[in-house]
Amino acid sequence: MTAALAVPVVLAPFLAAAVGLPLGRRLPPGIVAIAGTAVSAVLAIAVAVSSRPAETLARLTPTGGIAVTVGVRVGGLSATVAVMVTLVALAVQVYSVGYLRGDPRYPSYAALVSLFTAAMLTVVLSADLLLTYAGWEVMGVCSYFLIGHHWERPAASSAAVKSFLMTRFGDVGFLFGVFVLGTAAGSFRITDVLAAVPTMSHTTVLAAALLMVVGVVGKSAQFPLHSWLPDAMAGPAPVSALIHAATMVAAGVYLVALLFPVFLAAPLALDVLAVLAVVSMLGAALAAFASADLKRVLAYSTISQLSLMFAALAVGGRTAAIAHLVSHAAFKALLFLCAGAVITAVGGGLLTDLGGLRRAMPVTFATMTVGFAALAGFPPTSGFFSKDLVVAAAGHAASGEAALVTVAVAWLVAVAVLLTAGVTAAYATRAWLLTFFGTERPAREAGPVLTGPLLALAAPALLLGLAALRWPELRPEWGSALASVAVVVLGAGVVLARWRAAPGRDPADLLGRARPLLASAWHTDDLYERTVARAVTGLAERVVAVDDRVVGRAVTGSGRNAGRLGGLIRLSQNGNPQLYLTGLLAGVLLIAVGVVVLA
């Protein structure tokens, strides 16, 4: 029964998109989209409540080899994540009605967000790896369209292209990983694959795991494929909230969690994942601290928080990672939506243009404070509980209990997690101070359509951790809790002290000359631009040149040479019969000699 319920969870937003795209203009704004997402949310909750694992399957098409199947697979993990996705999507849809009021392209925007939600739910609930890949790709395309919503701005359209190409590069790795697993297991069904993992040879599993890592790194914007996420902020704020905070980028974490047995069978892949996570974690956190635009701060913060989840997975803390995923989705979506409200109110995203909005926008101030608190990890927010679980998991791994990852890497992860917690608290407080304190600025509070979803998201951001205490495995451990709170208070304290010493000045000046370097995440983006992009366009120019000169010329040249050769032979035809006779008799002589010699 639950499986039968799960199918409409995916189909509802898909139908909303299918209806909304052509007919959007004629219906009142967003009705179809919000209705679809709401239905999907209700059903998702129903499925989560009944929480009995179930699976339905249908054969989509014969392929001459392994058949491609279509179906839904509901488990504890997928149900919770599905609920999270649908709720955040609902909040974003409602918020978008207000945020994009009067935008002529709103109907197609709403339809594309519904299509995106359907694609994300396909990834979460799919029973067949190829179907997951299909959802994965459709998500990529929807993100391309939504980032390029204001396609008349060159920045938006080039950011969209960059985001799609980088994720597409990762997706190719993911597809090849699916091929390896599917061919080894003889079927693409997830249950079959997971059952067949013990039987697979070590190299196959390692190859599959590493390819999955490539796919996941691409989609979740981890180092080295991270530089598209900050540029993706060119898209409207609700898009950033939904896609680049809660769902798409989190799909990578969900996938690793889903195929965790594969990764358990290939510890080397987990080591690689851990190292990448550590690098992304610290790099992104420092970049968040140094960057000057509010949304870019949140983007780098997302990269850093995702690295936390990957680090938790790497050290074996699967439940910790999922908990942090859910709570992060809540408070990061909240932060982005608040940022959207602030930007529309003030008209600019740069932190220097903001400041002193505490009294002008009380509701936004309150909810954003909750968001920043959860991000930093102050108790009693959900962020504190989930981050603590990650720190605890890192601690156990470091003390050599789980023995999944090599001990050195475990220690590295534990130290990095604590450090990142501190820096996160620092940039959270900095952003908070620069946005709401300092010189008063006239601004109007956003309308109820915007503040409603903010409040709706503030509740889980604050209370989710407490509510989750019911399950024993989600309770914090005191040792790691104390350590993380200490580090957080230290981080926040430094920034507060800096602020009190020089009110109004950007605490990031602490970094001094290193700031531009850190702000652009060690210039990785320009590095890619100069190397990969220029190399490909250069090669393309040369290919076109070669194509015209060598391949094309070879053909037309042969035609012209034939003509020239004809002209040459024609010279023998000068009208003089005696020349003809010489030719004839020379031929006769040649033939006669040939026959006498050869025959």
């Binding site: 004809g566 002209g567 032979i569 009208g575 019969p577 003809y580 030719g583 004839l584 008799l585 033939i591």
Partner: protein, 501 residues
């Protein structure tokens, strides 16, 4: 020794009838006043049609039992025998003859050629061609060849007031006479080596080990030269372009179709019936000649701007295609059945080529002489589709056939048969070379055909005036023949000389 030869007059009927008509025409021209000259054309035409009728009667007699009807025989082997091969060739030659006569009708009147002499010479040449097709004896073949060549020298030079016509005549005369002399020398050597002039006796003699091998081989090869000249294969092709340009268009048509077909008839007879067992000797030679002819013919044709010269080079290239299957015989020494298949390929191609080419020459003769060039330049055909749609479509159809591309199915089947012949002989390289040559061929046929439909200046084509009746019939006959070959090519494919012994 039986001294009186019994002559089977029915077997000899077609050439005999033509000869009689020729003499009749010549005599009649002497007595008739000038204004009756169209009658001579009519008489010539009736003569040819009568010969064709005789041919059909013979066909009814010979075809069913598929037993050749021989005459002038010594024991079993006859000098003059009529079998399916001969009948096919005689039929093709006679149809071609009719079309040439139709074309000549207009030209004789316009260019002021002497009607009596012209038709007399044409008919005698045609009679010579028919005898070659039936000849099974080196003497008859040589004499037949001469009877075809000599009248043509005179025909070529018949435009007496045009310096270039005399020059063409002299060029052709010199080259032809020299190649005949070389061929006769070859015949004498073969006669010396084998002791007989009858082809099947020669074939038996060549198989006997006692025959002096080198002398016979040289003889065989030198005989090839004579026929090489007739079919204008490279290196004996130099005369063709100049002669076609100098000669009246009808004579050029005669040269390109009838005289070439006669040459191929002789060549096939000599090579398969006579020198079959020496395939190892003449095979590679013919293959090289074929390759050279098609390549040189096509390459030079690419650069031609005058229509008649382009057709000359195109017919040299087509001669290359026709020689190719015979060239492939080298690989199958001594297997008469397969040699027959290869010969059938050449015969089939020659028959289809004859009909295709006539269509083009018919349109050329309609266009007539433009500033000293028979058939004008390619650019004079620009926009012909608008002024003379039917004629332009007929020309385009025939060019497509020559190129071997549908809608010209006849040309395509001819090419397929020739390709198959070459491949059964195992000559892969020749087949690939032919594929390349078909592309070269298409290049210049296309250049011409696309001009027909090009929107360009149409005042040159408009100046041609309406299509006279006899040209219409000629074009109609040629296109009908090609269409028939497109749908039922098996009429001409698969016919080979009956190989004795």
């Amino acid at each position: 020794m039986q001294t009186i030869q019994s002559v089977d007059y029915l077997a000899v009927a077609p050439p005999l009838m033509l000869a009689l008509t020729a003499v009749g025409v010549l005599v009649a021209d002497a007595f008739l006043p000038a204004r009756r000259s169209p009658w001579i054309g009519g008489a010539a035409l009736t003569g040819v049609l009568l010969a064709l009728a005789a041919d059909l009667v013979l066909a009814v007699g010979v075809l069913p039992q598929d037993r050749p009807r021989g005459t002038f025989c010594v024991g079993a082997s006859c000098s003059y025998s009529v079998d399916r091969f001969t009948l096919l060739f005689q039929a093709v030659l006679l149809v071609a003859g009719t079309v040439v006569l139709l074309l000549a009708n207009g030209e004789v009147r316009r260019a002021g050629l002497p009607a009596g002499e012209f038709h007399f010479l044409l008919l005698t040449a045609l009679a010579g061609a028919l005898t070659i097709a039936a000849g099974r004896d080196l003497v008859i073949l040589v004499v037949g060849l001469e009877v075809v060549s000599l009248p043509v020298f005179a025909l070529v030079a018949l435009r007496r007031y045009d310096g270039r016509s005399a020059e063409a005549g002299l060029t052709m005369f010199l080259v032809s006479v020299t190649s005949t002399a070389v061929m006769l020398f070859g015949v004498s050597l073969v006669y010396g080596a084998t002791g007989s002039m009858l082809l099947d006796t020669i074939s038996a003699a060549l198989r006997r080990p006692g025959t002096p091998h080198t002398v016979a081989a040289t003889g065989v090869v030198l005989v090839l030269v004579g026929f090489g000249f007739k079919v204008s294969a490279v290196p004996f092709h130099f005369w063709a372009p100049d002669t076609y340009q100098g000669a009246p268009i009808a004579v050029a048509a005669f040269l390109s179709v009838v005289s070439k077909a006669a040459g191929f008839a002789g060549l096939v007879l000599v090579l398969t019936v006579g020198f079959g067992s020496y395939a190892g000797v003449w095979g590679p030679l013919v293959a090289v000649l074929a390759a050279a002819s098609m390549t040189v013919g096509n390459l030079v044709a690419l650069r031609q701007r005058a229509a008649i010269r382009l057709l000359a080079w195109s017919s040299i290239a087509q001669a290359g295609y026709m020689l190719a299957p015979l060239g492939a015989a080298a690989g199958l020494v001594g297997e008469p059945r397969v040699l027959g298949v290869l010969a059938a390929a050449t015969v089939g191609y020659v028959a289809i080529y004859a009909v295709m080419n006539l269509g083009v020459f018919a349109v050329l003769s309609f266009v007539g002489w433009i500033d000293g060039l028979g058939g004008g330049r390619l650019d004079d055909y620009r926009g012909m589709a608008r002024s003379h749609p039917a004629l332009a479509l007929a020309l385009a159809f025939c060019l497509a056939c020559l190129a071997g591309l549908p809608p010209g199915l006849a040309g395509l089947f001819a090419k397929i048969v020739v390709f198959r012949g070459v491949l059964t002989g195992g000559y892969g390289w020749l087949a690939v070379l032919m594929a390349v040559n078909t592309v070269l061929g298409l290049a210049y046929y296309l250049a011409w055909a696309s001009r027909l439909f090009a929107p360009g200046p149409s005042e040159s084509t408009a100046a041609f005036g309406p299509v006279p009746r006899h040209v219409a019939i000629a074009v109609g006959l040629a296109v009908a023949g090609t269409a028939l070959m497109s749908v039922l090519p098996q009429l001409v494919l698969g016919v080979a000389p009956t190989l004795g012994g």
